[in-house]
């Protein structure tokens, strides 16, 4: 294990920007974990699959509309927006189904919290495998030939047609900042601010915060807790959809099990920032993305994940409730 500091220092700005782009994607996924945790105190283990379905929605929309080469201009923009919207719609749909099938029956019965985790793990397996066996599933209804482009290669990498010209936007020193990184970081931060403001200022957001603070009192005050839980899953799903779209722009490759590792990382980011805390998710995601990228530059990319987990352990040792502390809105005792 040799430390490669010269590489790190000579590429510092570029590493930081790419790290921020990764971190922005982590942050968007982390939002789903953190919100569900804030309201239900549950680790929504299947959130990674919500994200994974979003990547496929973005991929399929692009494949269906792009046709041959790169259309360019407004058409590209339209395709991008369409892909974003379809990813958001798909992820939101999956998140809502998940809430209905895997969580609501358990919450109604007041089941122990660990069993909800197991239910979510089961749901995660089912969702991932349905995507991984999509050629078989469509085969049952006889559609596999018509949809060959979409459902073939079910268990291997599927890559996105390249539609954004990833040109160098501007340079810091002699480091280039590329188009895609800028789109990812800006879009993610805009979305996070939008959600944060929604939760802080709107009526529905107040319901979420109230339920997170004290579910019983909130219910007595007329907050419909089922609605609030649904809304939480919906918001988490929408953000996972955005993350999925941005991920496809940046990484361009997806697979049925892509959610797992990303989900673990995003959950790490949520805990790092302080679980249940929306701004914490942003901070945690960005810190995780950047430090991980720096670490993998110094130690070699095979240590990337180790760096992420060591960072988590170290931060939790010194700040046991994450960088910004817990809670959705207000401190919980």
């Amino acid at each position: 294990m040799d430390l490669n500091f010269s590489f790190f220092f000579s590429n510092f700005p570029e590493l930081t920007v790419t790290g921020l782009a990764f971190g922005a994607i982590y942050a968007l996924i982390a939002l789903g974990y953190t919100m569900v945790y804030g309201v239900l105190q549950l680790i929504n283990f299947a959130h990674s699959e919500v994200f994974m379905y979003g990547t496929f929605a973005a991929l399929w929309f692009t494949m269906a509309t792009v046709g041959g080469g790169n259309p360019g201009g407004f058409q590209t923009l339209a395709i991008l927006i369409g892909a974003l919207l379809s990813a958001m719609a798909m992820s939101a749909l999956i998140a809502l189904i998940l809430e209905r099938v895997a969580y609501r029956p358990l919450i109604k019965r007041n089941a122990p919290r660990l069993i909800a985790l197991i239910s979510a793990i089961g749901a995660s397996f089912v969702l991932a495998e349905l995507m991984g066996l999509r050629d078989r599933v469509t085969g049952w209804v006889g559609l596999d030939d018509d949809l060959r482009d979409y459902v073939g290669r079910a268990r291997i990498n599927n890559s996105m047609p390249n539609i954004v010209d990833n040109k160098v936007l501007f340079s810091i020193g002699d480091a280039d900042v590329r188009m895609v990184d800028v789109i990812v970081i800006v879009a993610a931060i805009v979305m996070m601010v939008a959600v944060d403001q929604f939760v802080r200022r709107s009526r529905l957001g107040r319901g979420i915060r109230a339920t997170a603070q004290d579910p019983e009192t909130a219910a007595l005050m007329g907050v419909n807790s089922t609605r609030v839980i649904q809304l939480t899953f919906l918001l988490g799903g929408l953000m996972a959809g955005v993350a999925a779209f941005l991920y496809m722009l940046k990484i361009e490759v997806t697979k049925f099990d892509v959610g797992f590792l990303l989900g673990v990382k995003a959950f790490t980011a949520a805990v790092l920032g302080g679980i249940g805390n929306l701004r914490g998710a942003l901070v945690g995601g960005l810190v995780l993305g950047v430090v991980e990228n720096w670490g993998s530059a110094i130690l070699g990319s095979e240590w990337r994940h180790v760096v992420a987990f060591v960072l988590l352990v170290v931060i939790l040792l010194f700040r046991p409730t994450g960088i910004l502390g817990e809670s959705l809105g207000k401190a919980r005792t």
């Binding site: 660990l114 069993i115 197991i118 793990i121 089961g122 089912v126 805990v271 352990v313 939790l316 046991p320």
Partner: protein, 379 residues
């Protein structure tokens, strides 16, 4: 309700005189030992070696018993248990094949000790973190251990370690298997298992070894659960602050739970490595931590028989239904969802939980008599 019938069964067992009870347990144990020789139809796994599957089941039983101490008794959510399993396996592998050639019987205690020490080393800083934070920290540690094994040449890197020693064989006599002609069992003199030959082909002796360890662990588990330590764990789980105020040094007991769990995990890992005779980091994925936890929770955390049932469900069912190999994980996921919907306390919840639940119902019935009536009217 299902609880009633099982309670009735339990009552009848408890009512039996002590010699009869002991005879019943011995009969059960004999049956368990004979299982791979009987190769009963329907239970026996087509396509995969039944003895091998049973050995895997015993390893899962050990791991589930160990994790049950951490999760079920002490209430510490550990998502990185596979890390201990890996440390046990790697220590045994390194000592018997990769960097030394110790005899396995010497390497296993060392492996277990190393795992226990690592449990203390990991636990000391992390156990101050509470609840779900602990889950993610342990998950992180599990991954760190695996990735370190992947990246370090000294640990065999991604290729893994091969030629791990098997347990020493004492070849005493041959035991014939049965085979089933329809419903008629026949003795098959050509298909025999040599008593205690730990070879490559016949996995049954490993199963016997594993089963023996599981039985010993069950006794030890019973002793520790009913001791002062077990009570301290339960108190810590139920309310850490209250336990601390009552004079339970909760941190020390949590650490003890963690290292006891690590002890058993390491033992299971070392046995697994010796049976496989080959390990690589792919055997210690995060997925296994999740499966282990699923075994504990699905079976009924806190009840040693419950987690054994859970381990059997998690380890055996996917092997039994190998013919649906492609849909295995899908069906397993569905099963987890259904089980958690219909048996939220686990398949065999601990008696405490059942009692607490009944009490809760009774109090509720006293408080809100009408509500209960309405519910009864509805369904």
């Amino acid at each position: 309700m299902t609880n009633k019938s099982s309670a009735g069964f339990r009552q009848r067992i408890i009512a039996l005189p002590k010699p009869a009870k002991i005879a019943l347990w011995v009969a059960l144990a004999v049956l368990a030992y004979a299982l791979p020789l009987l190769e009963p139809p329907l239970i026996s796994t087509p396509g995969t070696d039944f003895g091998g599957v049973l050995f895997t089941v015993t390893v899962y039983c050990m791991v589930a018993l160990g994790l049950n101490i951490v999760v079920g008794y002490a209430g510490l959510l550990d998502l990185g248990y596979v890390g201990f399993y890996a440390i046990g396996a790697y220590t045994a592998a390194i000592l018997t094949s990769f960097h030394a050639s110790w005899p396995l019987l010497l390497a296993i205690p060392v492996a277990v000790a190393v795992t226990m020490v690592s449990g203390v080393l990991l636990g000391a800083p992390t156990l101050r973190v509470r609840g779900d934070y602990l889950a993610i920290v342990t998950l992180g540690f599990g991954e760190i251990i695996r990735l370190t094994a992947v990246n370090i040449e000294w640990l065999g890197a991604a290729k893994g370690i091969s030629a791990i020693q098997r347990p020493p064989s004492i070849e005493l006599f041959e035991i014939p298997h049965l085979f089933w002609d329809g419903a008629v069992p026949l003795v098959d003199p050509d298909d025999t298992t040599t008593f205690l030959e730990f070879g490559v082909l016949d996995q049954i002796p490993y199963y016997w070894l594993g089963l023996t360890v599981v039985i010993v662990l069950l006794f030890a588990d019973r002793l520790i659960k009913d001791s002062r330590v077990g009570r301290a764990w339960e108190a810590t789980r139920e309310d850490e602050d209250a336990a601390e105020l009552m004079g339970v040094p909760t941190f020390r007991f949590k650490l003890l739970a963690f290292s006891t769990g690590a002890f058993i995990g390491g033992l299971a890992g070392a046995l697994y490595a010796s049976r496989q005779s080959f390990i690589n980091p792919m055997s210690f994925l995060l997925l296994f931590s999740i499966l282990f936890l699923a075994a504990v929770v699905v079976g009924g955390q806190g009840n040693r028989w419950g987690v054994i049932v859970g381990a059997i469900v998690v380890a055996y069912l996917p092997e039994r239904f190998r013919e649906f190999s492609e849909f295995r994980v899908l069906v397993f996921g569905l099963a987890l969802m259904l089980l958690s919907s219909f048996r939220p306390e686990g398949l065999l919840p601990p008696r405490r939980t059942v009692r607490a639940k009944q009490l809760e119902h009774e109090i509720e019935a006293l408080e809100e008599g009408q509500l209960e009536e309405e519910e009864a009217a509805r369904g």
